[in-house]
């Protein structure tokens, strides 16, 4: 079971690298925000899987909870900032 979690974790890390392409070469700033938001949700799952692999479940669950909240607030702040920029 732990090996399966390793597989899922490495799969997600590969997907993060693939999404980073859109984050770097994205034509506009909005594509980059969408890419960063996508990377944020993936790292949430990677954090939880690391928690289960290292048997530190309680610590990593709190970290990923805070990360989910921060990712949400960060995306909203970026959207609100860019809306007023014009």
């Amino acid at each position: 079971m732990i090996d399966f979690l390793y597989g899922i974790g490495f799969g997600l890390c590969f997907l993060v690298l693939v999404v980073l392409y859109r984050g770097i070469f994205g034509p506009g700033v909005y594509n980059r925000i969408a890419a960063v938001s996508a990377v944020g949700t993936k790292t949430l799952i990677i954090l939880l899987i690391m928690g289960f692999i290292y048997n530190r479940v309680d610590m990593f669950i709190d970290i990923s909870m805070v990360y989910a909240l921060l990712n949400f607030v960060g995306t909203l702040a970026a959207a609100k900032y860019l809306e007023m920029e014009k």
């Binding site: 079971m1 399966f4 979690l5 899922i8 799969g11 997600l12 997907l15 693939v18 999404v19 392409y21 859109r22 506009g28 909005y30 594509n31 925000i33 969408a34 890419a35 938001s37 996508a38 949700t41 993936k42 949430l44 799952i45 939880l48 899987i49 289960f52 479940v57 309680d58 669950i61 709190d62 990923s64 909870m65 989910a68 909240l69 949400f72 995306t75 909203l76 970026a78 959207a79 609100k80 860019l82 809306e83 920029e85 014009k86």
Partner: protein, 104 residues
């Protein structure tokens, strides 16, 4: 390899599949809104499936309850964030992709 482990394997692999399709959508779609459409829905479902899979793996405990809280929160937060980004993009003049752009 009891029943809960098999269930969590199924949910986690389903989540990984939807992450892959959302990423494919993010890269291949022609326009910002279509990309946001893909990641908004694909990531929401994938996060939900992965979190429920990990909740099964965690067994019935406080950490399982926290994981379910994260799943419910992400189910509410991700569409809100997607809506905020697309509203900001629409307001600052990003025009949606049309049939004419296809032929260009």
């Amino acid at each position: 390899m009891n029943f809960w482990h098999v269930l969590s394997i199924l949910f986690l692999s389903g989540g990984l599949f939807f992450f892959a399709t959302a990423t494919l959508g993010l890269l291949r779609f022609p326009d910002f809104y279509t990309r946001l459409h893909a990641t908004g829905k694909g990531d929401t479902l994938a996060v939900f499936l992965c979190l429920i899979g990990l909740a099964f793996y965690a067994g019935f405990s406080l950490s399982c309850l926290k994981i379910i809280f994260i799943a419910v929160f992400m189910f509410l937060a991700q569409p809100t964030a997607t809506h905020a980004i697309s509203r900001a993009a629409m307001k600052s003049g990003v025009t949606p992709w049309t049939k004419e752009d296809a032929t260009k």
